[in-house]
């Protein structure tokens, strides 16, 4: 038995999976070889250290993020599933014309309660309405750590460019800014977590990523290049980090000219972004959203953006502010 063979078999020896004759040979070798014995002891300690690798708790929002993605997939599957023949026959035979009209009215009312501006109609068994892709925001940090990264309320928008002034409190703080265009053609590709995670994905169009790290006050300019894409809403998503804490902020910017579009019904979580989309598109205002928004919100039809956003804020536990520069901000209550 030579030293090299002993060292090749140290793992199996500790693991207890070594054949008995080989184990005895190695143990005999240890009696005469101090170097291999030392090697074995250090190896054993390394092994026991590896067994102590600490576990980290996943962030609280991760489970929700995964389930939102799965529920979105599930809803898309259900929406895509063909209506069974028996049901189509039953509906055709048993629903008289006045009842159909009533069903249409109900569907319109429900959609109206869910979010402003949705156009609902009863077609061939499906309610269709125009909605935006899903937008969701998350923040995963304690209030004290958040103070380390402060975004000044100085967001100005000129044309298709949003400029965000920020103040990084220490050198470990950084901003990652990603801008893209919400596009109805990508509706099948969207998952609720995409905006909040800044995950690289081919389905996010026209995005660009800017990463900055600095001391003191700095400025970052976020281009939202959607001028040639009528009916789209530009979004700049800003990820602010300070050490391991992070926070997201989204800036919605009106682009091009408004244009109605029709996509298949999306799950209820979409309603939030749908409202933002509508407000931005119809009222030509910039809306900033910060924090985590979950659940279904119901916003009544309103003639001005302030009423829409007030209702949205009230139901989503957000704080609405109107900045001196006319930008509406929705901030999570920390």
């Amino acid at each position: 038995m030579n030293c090299e063979t002993v060292r090749e078999n140290l793992s199996d020896l500790i693991d207890g999976t070594l054949e008995q004759p080989l184990r005895f040979a190695i143990e005999n070798h240890f009696q005469d070889c101090q170097a291999c014995r030392d090697e074995f002891e250090t190896f054993e300690k390394t092994w026991s250290l590896l067994d102590q690798i600490p576990w980290v708790e996943p962030p609280e929002h991760l489970h929700r993020r995964i389930m939102t993605a799965i529920r979105t997939l599930h809803s898309q599957e259900e929406a895509a599933a063909p209506v069974p023949l028996w049901r189509r026959c039953w509906e055709a035979l048993s629903v008289p014309i006045p009842a159909r009209a009533s069903m249409g009215w109900t569907a319109t009312a429900v959609a109206g309660i869910l979010a402003i501006g949705m156009i609902a109609q009863v077609g061939t068994g499906n309610i269709t309405m125009w909605m935006s892709p899903t937008v969701k925001f998350s923040q995963t940090t304690s209030a004290s750590l958040l103070r380390a990264v402060r975004v000044a309320p100085a967001v100005s928008v000129q044309g298709n460019t949003a400029t965000v002034a920020f103040d990084l409190k220490n050198s470990s703080s950084a901003l990652t800014v990603r801008s893209y265009v919400l596009d109805e053609n990508a509706d099948r590709q969207w998952a609720p977590w995409m905006l909040s995670s800044l995950a690289p994905t081919s389905s996010l169009r026209d995005f660009q990523t800017v990463k900055l790290q600095a001391d003191g006050e700095s400025m970052v300019t976020v281009p939202v290049n959607a001028a040639n894409l009528p009916g789209k809403v530009g979004v700049a998503v800003i990820r602010m980090t300070s050490g391991v804490s992070e926070r997201y902020l989204a800036v919605f910017v009106p682009t091009g000219s408004p244009r109605d579009r029709v996509v298949t019904t999306q799950p209820a979580q979409d309603v939030f972004s749908s409202v933002i989309w509508k407000v931005v598109n119809d009222h030509r205002v910039t809306v900033m959203v910060d924090g985590q928004v979950d659940g279904i919100v119901g916003v009544p039809t309103a003639s001005n953006p302030l009423e829409c956003l007030e209702a949205l804020a009230a139901q989503s536990d957000l704080v609405l502010d109107v900045q001196p520069n006319g930008i509406y901000t929705l901030t999570r209550k920390y």
Binding site: E8, L10, F43, D51, I53, P58, H63, L73, T209, E246
Partner: protein, 194 residues
């Protein structure tokens, strides 16, 4: 896998969201920790975990039960990680982000260690930090094996299934990984001896 888990998986095969909710609750911590140690940062770990469960949703009907569910799940997580690495190599990030990631361990220590702490805790923190750095320096394939064996309690057979490798290759590579780690953990010799 117990009867309850088996029942959950059967319901998942029918795309029952509530069953997936349970499944995510059962496994997300394990996948997240594996992803975190493999990728070395929280954001990527979250993305890998989320993508893993989305792939599980899309593919669970193909799970026949030849391997244990957990082995099948880790195989997916490992593939997600490899795909992410491939994408990163194709589109490397800017250096500023890398600088941030590099700084993170230092920042983490600052946050985890806000004031004077008992000596024991300081030693544990130091040990964890050296251990993490040593593992981070391993090549990806060795890192995966070490993590699967030592943190996820996977057997050589299971690791072989997860990584599509012969069992002999797993054993020899894992042995080499431990030898490499032993050298990297040399600074801990003093801690060993306390």
């Amino acid at each position: 896998m117990n009867a309850e888990e088996r029942a959950i998986i059967e319901r998942c095969k029918k795309h029952d969201p509530e069953a997936f909710d349970r499944l995510v609750g059962l496994y997300q911590r394990r996948i997240f920790n594996f992803a975190l140690r493999m990728s070395g940062n929280h954001n990527d770990a979250e993305d890998i975990t989320a993508e893993t469960f989305i792939r599980v949703y899309n593919a669970i009907q193909n799970f026949r039960g030849d391997a244990t569910f957990s082995t099948w799940l880790f195989r997916i997580a490992h593939n997600v990680f490899l795909d992410m690495r491939k994408k990163e190599r194709a589109h490397p990030h800017s250096s500023l982000q890398e600088a941030l990631e590099l700084d993170e361990s230092e920042v983490q220590r600052q946050i985890e260690d806000p004031g004077p702490r008992p000596e024991q805790e300081a030693e544990t923190a130091e040990l964890n930090s050296i251990l993490r750095e040593a593992i981070d320096q391993l090549p990806d394939y060795q890192k995966a094996m070490v993590l699967l064996y030592h943190t996820q309690n996977k057997s050589y057979e299971e690791i072989a299934e997860i990584m599509h490798l012969p069992i002999g290759t797993v054993k020899s590579r894992l042995n080499r990984a431990r030898i490499a780690l032993k050298a990297k953990l040399e600074p801990l010799r003093e801690l060993f001896e306390t």
